[in-house]
Amino acid sequence: MKLVAEGLVLTRGSRVLVSGLSFAADAGCALLVTGPNGVGKTTLLRALAGLFQATAGTIRLEGAADERSVADESHYFGHLNAVKSSLTVEENAAFWCRYLGGRREQVTTALETFGLMALRDIPAGYLSAGQKRRLGLARMLVAERSIWLLDEPATSLDVASQAVLAAAANTHLAGGGLVIAATHAPLGLTPARELALAGSGARAA
């Protein structure tokens, strides 16, 4: 399986963030999107997730099961965790599991992986920033999606949790999955390629 983007143009207002970007990401290999702030990393990930409409260009999936789009096959994990404070840790994970069409036992696996089993009956509002972030990341495991789109996933994670995230992502890669991450920090993903977005200075003039 392979994600192919061709001639992507992403604009916000009159600002052209990305013009004519083409790349391919292969299954089993992480793609690290790097570059300075404001260069369009988040916008690129949102475009891949189907949240942001690209001005021009195509995003497609080669070798997917049955003509599924990239958006259908992705988990999008942004700056916010999509965690509800008034639901317990387990309810949060279980909701996304059922909503995204995962299997029941995946909830337990996901919570165990991210070390949240002990906290599962606690409302998520009580969690620390790092624990909430881990609960947010657990969404990647509650339902199977072949593509993970991670936007600065390591934010507010301590070293141990970063290692857990790296392990989970590497397992996903080893299973033939695809990880595309916008990041400043090296995430410890192997194998990984880098897609450096340059501040091309492209502007609408």
Partner: protein, 222 residues
């Protein structure tokens, strides 16, 4: 379909757990209905005549209070991104969210109305039509209000703006809701035509409003 049900269940559960929104709306409803007779005077005949209108207008205002948070809670914590990106059509997401608002907020308001009707000397014959008209009419409030909630999601002064945008659009619901109760006061069997039109308005809102809501939400997450 199960994703739809899960979302509906989650939203009702969250509203129930957090309680504040529904409690505030119910409290607001009670306050408005208590204050109005203090301003109008204790003339029971007058109160009886204007009771349907007061009960409906105050219910609309109370429902509007809670509508502002409908999509905001999902925008704030990033859930909206996941909901929009998921394979459940966004129109279905909109239906689930509005339906959850109806169940968790509008229905309690409608059930509170007869209690407040006592304060306004509403005649006994009118209680059935009152609750009926509110249960049938409030889906239009939740769904049309959903359009406003989706449009004002990132706006400054969102709450007041929502009322400004939506109150004119509630006029048909309001008129036929009040008409149902008023005609029942005059003649207990005579509310047929207006309740039919009210149902038509509600049905049309449930079908059409999700299209506008989905279009607005798609723009909001860009």
């Amino acid at each position: 379909m199960s994703a739809f049900g899960e979302l509906l269940k989650r939203d009702v559960l969250i509203t129930w757990r957090e309680g504040g929104a529904v409690g505030t709306a119910l409290g607001f409803y009670v306050m408005v209905i208590t204050l109005l007779p203090l301003g109008i005077g204790p003339d029971l005949n007058l109160l009886q005549r204007i009771a349907p209108g007061l009960l409906w207008v105050a219910l609309l205002l109370a429902a509007l209070l809670s509508l502002g948070r409908l999509f905001e809670i999902d925008l704030e914590d990033g859930s909206l991104d996941v909901l929009v990106a998921s394979s459940l059509p966004l129109e279905a997401v909109a239906v689930a969210k509005c339906l959850a608002h109806w169940l968790s907020t509008a229905v309690p308001l409608a059930l509170l109305a007869p209690v407040l009707g006592l304060l306004l000397n509403l005649p006994l014959d009118a209680y059935g039509p009152l609750v009926l008209s509110m249960l049938i009419g409030t889906p239009a409030v939740s769904f049309i209000g959903g359009i406003g909630a989706a449009l004002t999601l990132r706006a400054r002064r969102g709450g007041v703006l929502l009322a400004l945008l939506m109150l004119p659009l509630f006029v048909p619901t309001l008129i036929f809701g009040i008409e149902t109760v008023s005609s029942a006061i005059v003649d207990s069997g005579a509310f047929g035509p207006s309740i039919l039109i009210l149902s038509a308005i509600s049905l049309a809102s449930v079908v059409l409003a999700p299209v506008a809501i989905a279009a607005a939400l798609r723009l909001q997450v860009q």
